[in-house]
Symmetry: C2
DNA sequence: TATTGCTGCGCAATCCGTTGAATAAGTAGT
DNA sequence: ACTACTTATTCAACGGATTGCGCAGCAATA
């Protein structure tokens, strides 16, 4: 349960609205933790009650008003406290992998089709991450090290997935056009 | 929400009790989806209500009675239907990665310590998977192909993580003993 | 002109998941 | 003899997460 901490990490160096955070969860931090806007607004509400964040109300015209949140001392303390204690290993929940495990029930060609869809996604992410990492490493500021390392994780992960996909492709093509064993 | 489907996949070729399934979730399929026994019993209850599975009540002496579940026609249909429709991309929730992203607040030495703990876990898993994959590829039966591919995924994943860890180590050692930028 | 999309916030219902506990009897170890 | 673990199932409470909906107005596109 550390959506709260992911939010606090993001608020560490910027003031942001719930909407801003939602966008960041879709991008940068989304690589590491994701959440919908409903969850984020809810959690911001709780964090506010607990004085971990506070906000300024910003009236806008043309657009709806917004609340710009920033982290408080108490929030930073909580974050540091959390950073100190060991994290539980991530729980794994990959529906596509469940499909592979149960793949004997499908036709190889159907599995291959979905594999390619997933591979497209991964390739897209890979190039996004690579571009971002490139940009970061050029202006080599001290502070971005951790963002860079996070991106590297994403990059290595996509590459690993794609080479696994190569293996699956090779394996399934042998079986394609053969009758299903179901 | 496809714990149900993971269960159906497991019941595809064996009759099993909730307890059996729980053990399998801790091992083989746990690599791909995990669940506690409470969840499994609950889901089996629901699946039973919906006639996707049925059970035989087996009285035992010495041990508590058990219910041996098997998949029904309706269950198999549901599974096939699910296999056909594209899977949503997995949601990512990795607390350790959130820590890296917010790492500027911690001391590098603390991050390194936790990195090594995680790395130990990964190395352990890696060798388990490698042994299992080895065993599977020796008795090369048609049917195990999918299990093998699932294991390969686990193997490549652990390796990718470990080489990422090498990068982190190299990067953080530069910063070790330097004052925190917080 | 109608539709879609973006900015921005929020509620309510429901479902999924975790934690903790209870029951019950056998077996293995100190 | 006592403790701990394994087999086997289930309940209760809570909190996290998803889905669906609603409001509101502006900009751009079809």
């Amino acid at each position: 349960m550390s959506l709260r901490h992911a939010i606090l990490v993001l608020l560490q160096d910027q003031e942001a609205s719930g909407y801003d955070l939602a966008r960041e969860f879709a991008n940068s931090i989304g690589l590491v933790w994701n959440a919908t806007h409903q969850q984020i607004y809810l959690e911001l509400g709780k964090l506010n009650e607990q004085d971990m964040v506070k906000y300024r109300h910003i009236p806008q015209d043309g657009k709806p008003d917004k609340k710009l949140y920033r982290i408080t001392e108490a929030g930073r303390d909580e974050l540091i406290r959390w950073l100190r204690k060991p994290a539980a290993p991530p729980r794994i929940r990959d529906a596509f992998m469940v499909k592979i495990a149960g793949g004997a029930l499908s036709e190889p060609s159907a599995v291959l089709r979905e594999l390619e869809d997933q591979a497209d996604l991964r390739r897209e992410r890979l190039s996004t991450f690579e571009e971002l990492a490139q940009a970061l490493s050029e202006r080599n500021s001290e502070k971005d090290t951790y963002t860079y390392l996070t991106l590297r994780r994403g990059i290595l992960d996509q590459r690993a997935w794609l080479s696994w996909a190569d293996e699956v492709r090779a394996e399934l093509r042998k079986r394609e056009d053969l009758p299903t064993s179901a």
